[in-house]
C-alpha cells in the first residue's frame, strides 16, 4: 500500500513543482537512455589548476584537488574489460566498514583500515605485494562508543614523503612513507564530548585540513589546519558561534542576503544551543590552487528534533570557501536553513569549468544530500542551478533569487506525531560516498540511494558524550522499490543521461577511467564496470563482502593498469552487518535497519583488498 501512495505522491510532487522554475525538466527517466557522447566543446571540464595530468599514482582519496576521481589510464577499455582478472588480494584483519581507497605511490600501496586504524604498506614490486611495514596508532577503544555510524575511516593522504591520516579517537598522525615511523601526532578531538574523526584529511598548501565528526552527539563542529611539517595548529574555524570563532571577517562576501549579518552563528540559535549544535566537518574537501580557496561542506545541526533549535542554525548544512593560509571565510551558502531531516551537506565538491555564454565559468558541482544537483559559481557561491537527481518530496525546490530551499510544509516533522513518507530519507538521496567526474564524457557518475522514511520527533536530552538525536526513524525503499541507483548526470543540460537501478543502496564511491569505464561496488559485494557513455554493464566480480570502499586505478611497477578496491561492508548502511545488529528492531541504526533487513543474508562482514588487471 505504501508503494502505491508514494508513487501517487511522487506524481503530485512532480506536478506541484512543475510550476516552479527551479525544478525544470523533472525526474530522471527510469530506463537507461541511449545517447551519443557529447562533443568536448559542449561539456564541463575539471578545473585545470586543480586536476594535474595523471601520473599513474593515487595519492589522495579524491585523486586530485578537483575531486574528479578520474584516472587517465586507458589500457582497460570497454572492449577488453571482460577479461579483467584478479592479480592479488590482501586481508586487512578488520571487519568494520571499509570506506577508504588504497593509496599507490611509486610502487607502494598504503591501506588505512577502520578502527583500530592500522596503516599497511604493501610492496607492489614483489609478487603478491607483501607488507613492508604496519603502523598501529592504537586509538582508545572507548571511541567506538561515540562513533555514530560505524567506526569507519575515509582514507589517508600521501604528500611529500609522508602519509597523513586520522584515527577514530580524534588524532591526526603523519607517518614516514618509507620507514613507517611516526613523524608527528596531534590530538584534536575529545571523545568525552562525543567527538571522533572519520574523514580523510586534505593536504594542500603545506597544511593538513581535518574536521571532526559527532553531529549526532551534540558536539560543536570545526575545521582545523595543521602545519604539514610539524603538525602544529595553524588555524581553526568553528561552524557555529560568534564570527571570531568562525573566522568570519572583512573578506567574507556571501552571495545571498540570508547569509549576511553579524554573529549569525549565535543569533540563529536559541541561547547556548550553538555550543552543542553540531555542524561537523566529516566529509570531503576540495582546493582550488588558483584562488587558494579550500571548499568543504558542514554537517547537520543537532539535535534532529528541529523544534528544540528554532532559527536558521547558521552555519550548519552549507558550503564554506576559506582562504587556505589564514582560514578567513570567503563565502558561504546554506543549502537547508534550519535543517529538519539530518541532511548534512558534506558531499564531495567537484571543481569544474562549464560552458557559459560563449566562455567558460568556474563552478563547483555538488550532488547534494538533500537530493538536488547544485551547480554554483566557485568564486561567489551563487546557485546557477539546483535540479533533483532522484525522487524528492521533502522539498519543493530551490528559489534561485534568494537561494533558499523551499520545504514541503506537510513533510515537516512535528514533536508528538510521526511524519510519514519523507523522501529522501535522513541519509539523503546520496550520502558521503563520492561520485566521479569524467572529462571524456563530461558526466558526473553518482552512486546514490532511493530511500524514504517515517520520522517521529521527540524531546532530546543533552548529556555530553551520549547521542543527542531526539527522533525515531524508519527507512524503506523509495518509489520504484529499488533502494539504490547509479546515475550518469549531465551538469550542463541538467539531466540524467542514463541510470542503473540497484536493489540495495549504492554506498560505494565511483571511479571513472580514461578507458571510458566507470567502476562501482554494491552492498552485497558485486564490483561492476559499466560503459561510461551508455551505462551498459560490461564486467562484474563477486567480492567476499559488501563494497563501500573507493575503487582506484593505478599504473603498476610493470607499467600495466591495475584496478584495486577493498570489500568490507559497514558504514551507516552496513551497520546492520558490521555492528551485528538485530534486524527485528526497525528503528535500529537510526532507522537504516528497516531499509536493509535482508543485508545480513546477502553479505557478511569483511575487510579484503582485491587488485585486478588484464592477463598478460
Amino acid at each position: 500500500m505504501r508503494r502505491v501512495r508514494t508513487a501517487l505522491l511522487g506524481v503530485i510532487a512532480v506536478a506541484a513543482c512543475a510550476g516552479l522554475e527551479a525544478c525544470n525538466k523533472g525526474q530522471p527517466s527510469t530506463a537507461p537512455i541511449k545517447s551519443e557522447p557529447l562533443q568536448s566543446g559542449e561539456h564541463a571540464l575539471p578545473a585545470s589548476a586543480a586536476s594535474p595530468r595523471d601520473d599513474g599514482n593515487w595519492v589522495m582519496p579524491s585523486k586530485d584537488y578537483a575531486a574528479t576521481r578520474f584516472s587517465a589510464l586507458n589500457q582497460i577499455t570497454p572492449a577488453n574489460v571482460s577479461k579483467l582478472a584478479i592479480r592479488f588480494t590482501f586481508s586487512t584483519a578488520t571487519t568494520k566498514g571499509y570506506e577508504a581507497p588504497p593509496l599507490v605511490v611509486n610502487g607502494t600501496m598504503y591501506l588505512i583500515t577502520p578502527f583500530p586504524n592500522f596503516l599497511y604498506a604493501l610492496d607492489l614490486t614483489k609478487p603478491g605485494a607483501p607488507a613492508k611495514w604496519v603502523f598501529k596508532p592504537k586509538p582508545l577503544a572507548a571511541s567506538q562508543g561515540v562513533a555514530c555510524c560505524d567506526v569507519v575511516n575515509r582514507g589517508a593522504v600521501y604528500d611529500a614523503g609522508k602519509i597523513f591520516f586520522n584515527t577514530l579517537d580524534g588524532q591526526t598522525i603523519a607517518v614516514d612513507a618509507n620507514s613507517g615511523q611516526q613523524v608527528w601526532r596531534t590530538q584534536l578531538g575529545d571523545i568525552q564530548k562525543g567527538e571522533t574523526i572519520t574523514m580523510a584529511p586534505l593536504v594542500a598548501g603545506g597544511k593538513v585540513f581535518v574536521g571532526n565528526s559527532g553531529g549526532e552527539m551534540g558536539v560543536r563542529g570545526w575545521i582545523a589546519a595543521l602545519d604539514e611539517g610539524s603538525g602544529k595548529l595553524a588555524w581553526k574555524a568553528f561552524n557555529t558561534g560568534p564570527d571570531k570563532d568562525v573566522l568570519i571577517g572583512p573578506r567574507f562576501k556571501p552571495f545571498y542576503a540570508s547569509d549576511q549579518g553579524k554573529d549569525l552563528g549565535v543569533k540563529t540559535w536559541p541561547p547556548d544551543a550553538w555550543k552543542i549544535g553540531g555542524g561537523t566537518v566529516w566529509g570531503w574537501l576540495s582546493y582550488d590552487p588558483e584562488t587558494k580557496l579550500v571548499f568543504y561542506g558542514v554537517g547537520n545541526p543537532g539535535p534532529w528534533n528541529a523544534d528544540q533549535r528554532p532559527g536558521d542554525n547558521k552555519w550548519t548544512t552549507g558550503v564554506f570557501a576559506r582562504d587556505i593560509d589564514t582560514g578567513q571565510a570567503a563565502w558561504f551558502y546554506q543549502t537547508t536553513p534550519h535543517d529538519i531531516f539530518d541532511h548534512d551537506d558534506i558531499n564531495e565538491i567537484i571543481l569544474a569549468d562549464i560552458p557559459w555564454g560563449n566562455g567558460r565559468r568556474p563552478v563547483i558541482l555538488r550532488p547534494a544530500r538533500a537530493g538536488f544537483f547544485y551547480v554554483q559559481d566557485r568564486r561567489t557561491g551563487q546557485v546557477l542551478s539546483a535540479t533533483p537527481y532522484g525522487y524528492v518530496n521533502a522539498y519543493r525546490g530551490v528559489d534561485l533569487k534568494t537561494g533558499a530551499m523551499l520545504p514541503n510544509p506537510d513533510k515537516e516533522p512535528k514533536q508528538g506525531r510521526v511524519t510519514r513518507d519523507i523522501c529522501p530519507a535522513a541519509p539523503g538521496l546520496k550520502d558521503w560516498n563520492p561520485s566521479a567526474f569524467s572529462p571524456l564524457t563530461g558526466l558526473v557518475y553518482i552512486p546514490h540511494n532511493n530511500l524514504c522514511m517515517d520520522f517521529g520527533a521527540m524531546q532530546a536530552n543533552y548529556i555530553a558524550g551520549t547521542p543527542y538525536v531526539g527522533a525515531d526513524v524508519k527507512m524503506y525503499a523509495g518509489p520504484g522499490g529499488n533502494r539504490g541507483a547509479f546515475t550518469a548526470w549531465d551538469p550542463v543540460h541538467r539531466r540524467a543521461v542514463w541510470e542503473i537501478k540497484e536493489d540495495l543502496p549504492v554506498w560505494s564511491p565511483a571511479l571513472a577511467t580514461g578507458g571510458g569505464l566507470v567502476f562501482y561496488g554494491t552492498m552485497d559485494g558485486w564490483f561492476k564496470a559499466v560503459d561510461a557513455r551508455t551505462g551498459r554493464e560490461l564486467w562484474k566480480f563477486k567480492a567476499g563482502s559488501g563494497i563501500i570502499g573507493q575503487p582506484i586505478s593505478y599504473r603498476g611497477p610493470d607499467g600495466r593498469q591495475y584496478i584495486a578496491v577493498v570489500a568490507g561492508v559497514g558504514g551507516w548502511a552496513g551497520a546492520v552487518v558490521s555492528g551485528k545488529m538485530d534486524t527485528r528492531d526497525p528503528t535500529g541504526a537510526l532507522g537504516f535497519a528497516n531499509a536493509v533487513k535482508d543485508l545480513p543474508m546477502k553479505t557478511t562482514a569483511g575487510g579484503m583488498l582485491y587488485v585486478f588487471t588484464l592477463p598478460r
Binding site: 508528538g416 506525531r417 510521526v418 517521529g456
Partner: protein
C-alpha cells in the same frame, strides 16, 4: 379411513388431552390453584437451586442488596477521601493511594451501584406492575446479575490485591494507556467495564421485552404506569449507549495487551478518540441513572397525592425526548480540549435544550401535588427533598453548559457539586424514597416511619452541608482529583464543611440500613395495600408468591386499584401445570400468545462463569479469547438446548 375422519379423530383426541390440562379458571381456583401454581413455579431448594433461580423477584432482590453493599463500600472510600481533604497539605493518605480511592469511588458508584440498583428495582417491580408472572428471558436476567456480581468482585478483588486502578472512573488515555499505567491496574478497570455493560445490556433487553410484550391485557401504552415508561426509555438508552464504552474499553485493552495504536498519537491514533467514545456513553449514562428516578418520583407523587400524575402524556413525551436528546450533548465534557468553537456552541444549545423536558416533568409533579392531597410520609419527603436538591443541580448544569463558564468551571469542585446534586439529589433521594415505598411489597413489613423521617432530614441537611460548599471550593480554584491543596487559597473552610457533611450523609445511610434490617424482623406487618396505591403490584400479596398473580388481571384505566374498587377483573386460562405467561400485543395489550417460561437452570450461572473467566484471563493473554471461548460455547449451547417440544394442543384464546 378418509382424511376427514382422521382429522376429526385427532381433534377428538386433542380435546380429550386439553380437558386433562389443569388450567386456572372456574374449575381450578382459590387455594387449590395457588397450591398447584406454587408447586409449578417454585425452584429447587439448596445452593444449586439458589444459583439456578430465574425468579425475577429473587434476582431483583440480589441486585438491590449487592448494589447497596457497593454503595456502602463506595461511600466508605468517599469518607476516606474527605478525611484526607479535610485539612490543607494533609499527608494522611499518599498520592497514589488517594488516586486509587477516587477511581474506586467513582467506578463503584457509577458502574457498581447506581445503574445496577435501578435495574434491580425495575427487574423486581416491573412484572408485578404490569400484572404478569415473570419477565421475558428470565435466564438472561439471571445471567445479567452474575455478570454484574463478577464485575464488582473483579474490581474490589483487585483493590484487595493492591492493584486497584488509579486512573479515574473516566480513564482518559494516554494516562490509562500502556506507557503511563504500568501493570494490570487499567486492564482490570477496563474489564470491569466489559462485565458491567454486558450485564446492563442483558438487563435492558429483558426489560424492553417484558414491558412491550407481557403487559396485562387492557394495559395499553396509554395506560402503562409512568415508571414502566421510564424503564422502557432507560433500557433503550442502555442498548444504544453501552456499546460505545464497550468499544472504547476493548480498544484500550487491545492497546495495552497486544500493542495496537488506537490511542497512540505518534502512530496517528488520537487521545480524544477515547474521550468521544467514553462520553458518548457517559452522558446518556447519567440520564440512564436519572430517568428511573423520575419514574420513582412519579409513582410516589401519584400515590401520596392521591391522584394520577398531572398531564400523563406530557410526562411520557418528556421522558422520551430526554432519552433522545441525551445522545446529543456529550461534547460538553470536552469544552477544554481545543475542538472548534462553533461546534461547541451547538453542544451548548443541546445541553440547554435537554433541561426543558425535565423542567416540564417537575412542573407536572408539582401540579400533581398542588391538585392532590399530599401526605408527607417518608417517600414523599424524599420527593420534596429531590425537587429542592435536583433543581439546584439542574440549574448549575445549565450554567456549565455555557462554553465560557465551563472553561472556568470544568474539572473543578463546582462540577463535583453539580453532579452530586443531580446524582444524589436526582437519583439517590428518589431511590431511598422508593425503597421505603416498596419495602413492604418486597418484605411484607413496613419500615419505621420515625427512623425514616430522622434519616431523611439527616440525609437532606447532611447533603447540603457536604456538597453546597463545593461550589465555592470550585469557584476558589480547587481542581478535581487532587489529593491535597495548599493553605492560603481560601479552600480550608469549604473542604472542612464538606468533610463534616459527608459524615452526616454516611450516618444517614447507615440509619437507613439499620431501619431496613430492623424492620425486616420487627417492622409492622404490611397490609395488602399500605399506601393505598393505584398500580397492579399492590394487587397481590406481599411478598408476592413465586407466580405473582393467581389470575392475570385486566386493566381498564391508568389507576386500576383506584378504579376497580372491589374485585379486579381477571382473565383465566393459563396453565397451572406448566410455567406459562400471557403475551399481549405491543400497543393495545390484547392477549396474543401463551409463552412457556423457562425453568430454573444452572446454565446461566455456568455461562457467566465461563464468560467471566474469558474476560479476566484476557487481561493476561490474548489466547484467552480463543481458548476461553470453547467453555463459553458449551455453556451457551447447553443453556439454549431446546427441550423436546410437546405438541402444544392449545388453540389461541379467542
Amino acid at each position: 379411513m378418509t382424511e376427514l375422519e382422521r382429522v376429526r379423530e385427532e381433534d377428538k383426541k386433542l380435546a380429550a388431552e386439553r380437558r386433562k390440562i389443569a388450567r386456572d379458571g372456574p374449575r381450578l381456583s382459590g387455594a387449590k390453584l395457588e397450591a398447584r401454581l406454587e408447586r409449578t413455579w417454585k425452584r429447587p431448594r439448596g445452593i444449586l437451586g439458589w444459583l439456578a433461580t430465574v425468579d425475577h423477584k429473587e434476582i431483583g432482590r440480589r441486585y438491590i442488596v449487592t448494589a447497596l453493599i457497593f454503595l456502602a463500600l463506595g461511600g466508605a472510600l468517599a469518607l476516606l477521601m474527605r478525611l484526607q481533604l479535610a485539612r490543607p497539605d494533609n499527608d494522611m493518605i499518599g498520592a497514589s493511594r488517594f488516586n486509587e480511592l477516587f477511581t474506586m469511588h467513582g467506578s463503584t458508584m457509577m458502574f457498581l451501584f447506581v445503574v445496577p440498583v435501578m435495574e434491580g428495582v425495575a427487574v423486581y417491580i416491573i412484572p408485578l406492575m404490569l400484572g404478569t408472572r415473570s419477565t421475558a428471558f428470565p435466564r438472561l436476567n439471571a445471567f445479567s446479575y452474575y455478570m454484574y456480581l463478577f464485575g464488582g468482585l473483579l474490581l474490589w478483588g483487585a483493590f484487595a490485591f493492591n492493584i486497584a486502578p488509579d486512573i479515574g472512573w473516566f480513564a482518559y488515555t494516554p494516562l490509562s494507556g500502556p506507557q503511563f499505567s504500568p501493570g494490570k491496574r487499567a486492564d482490570i478497570w477496563a474489564q470491569m467495564i466489559t462485565f458491567t455493560e454486558v450485564s446492563a445490556l442483558a438487563a435492558a433487553v429483558v426489560l424492553v421485552a417484558t414491558i412491550l410484550k407481557t403487559r396485562a391485557p387492557g394495559m395499553t401504552l396509554a395506560r402503562m404506569p409512568l415508571f414502566a415508561w421510564a424503564m422502557l426509555v432507560v433500557a433503550i438508552m442502555i442498548i444504544f449507549a453501552m456499546p460505545s464504552v464497550a468499544l472504547a474499553s476493548s480498544m484500550l485493552i487491545s492497546d495495552r495487551l497486544v500493542g495496537t495504536n488506537f490511542y497512540n498519537a505518534y502512530e496517528h491514533g488520537d487521545a480524544l478518540l477515547w474521550q468521544h467514545l467514553f462520553w458518548f456513553f457517559g452522558h446518556p449514562e447519567v440520564y440512564i441513572i436519572f430517568l428511573p428516578a423520575t419514574g420513582f418520583v412519579s409513582v410516589i407523587t401519584e400515590t401520596f397525592c392521591r391522584r394520577p400524575v398531572f398531564a400523563y402524556p406530557v410526562v411520557v413525551l418528556a421522558l422520551i425526548s430526554t432519552g433522545i436528546l441525551a445522545f446529543g450533548l456529550w461534547v460538553h465534557h470536552m469544552f477544554a480540549t481545543g475542538l472548534p468553537r462553533v461546534g461547541y456552541s451547538f453542544y451548548t444549545a443541546a445541553s440547554m435544550t435537554v433541561a426543558i423536558p425535565t423542567a416540564l416533568q417537575i412542573f407536572c409533579w408539582l401540579a400533581t401535588m398542588w391538585d392532590g392531597r399530599p401526605r408527607f410520609q417518608v417517600p414523599m419527603l424524599y420527593v420534596v427533598g429531590f425537587i429542592v436538591t435536583f433543581v439546584i443541580g439542574g440549574l448549575t448544569g445549565v450554567i456549565i453548559a455555557s462554553v465560557p463558564l465551563d472553561l472556568q468551571l470544568h474539572d473543578t469542585y463546582f462540577i463535583v457539586a453539580h453532579f452530586h446534586y443531580v446524582l444524589i439529589g436526582g437519583a439517590v433521594f428518589p431511590l431511598l424514597g422508593i425503597l421505603t415505598y416498596w419495602y413492604p411489597k418486597i418484605t411484607g413489613r413496613m419500615m419505621s416511619e420515625t427512623l425514616g423521617k430522622i434519616g431523611f432530614w439527616m440525609m437532606f441537611l447532611g447533603f447540603q452541608l457536604a456538597f453546597f460548599p463545593m461550589h465555592f471550593s470550585g469557584l476558589l480554584g480547587m481542581p478535581r482529583r487532587v489529593y491535597t491543596y495548599p493553605a492560603g487559597l481560601g479552600l480550608e473552610l469549604p473542604n472542612l464543611l464538606s468533610t463534616v457533611g459527608a459524615f452526616v450523609v454516611a450516618a444517614a445511610v447507615l440509619l437507613f440500613v439499620i431501619n431496613g434490617v430492623y424492620s425486616l424482623y420487627r417492622g409492622a406487618i404490611a397490609p395488602p395495600n399500605p399506601w393505598d396505591a393505584a398500580s397492579l403490584e399492590w394487587a397481590t400479596s406481599s411478598p408476592p408468591p413465586d407466580y405473582n398473580f393467581a389470575h392475570i388481571p385486566v386493566v381498564k384505566s391508568r389507576t386500576p386499584l383506584w378504579d376497580e374498587k372491589g374485585e379486579l377483573p381477571v382473565v383465566t386460562g393459563l396453565r397451572a401445570d406448566e410455567k406459562e405467561i400471557l403475551l399481549t400485543t405491543v400497543v393495545a395489550a390484547a392477549p396474543d400468545l401463551r409463552e412457556p417460561v423457562p425453568y430454573p437452570s444452572l446454565w446461566p450461572f455456568i455461562a457467566s462463569i465461563a464468560v467471566g473467566i474469558v474476560f479476566i484471563t484476557s487481561i493476561f493473554s490474548p489466547w484467552a479469547l480463543t481458548i476461553g471461548l470453547i467453555p463459553c460455547a458449551i455453556a451457551l449451547t447447553a443453556w439454549f438446548w431446546p427441550k423436546e417440544l410437546k405438541r402444544n394442543p392449545e388453540p389461541v384464546i379467542s
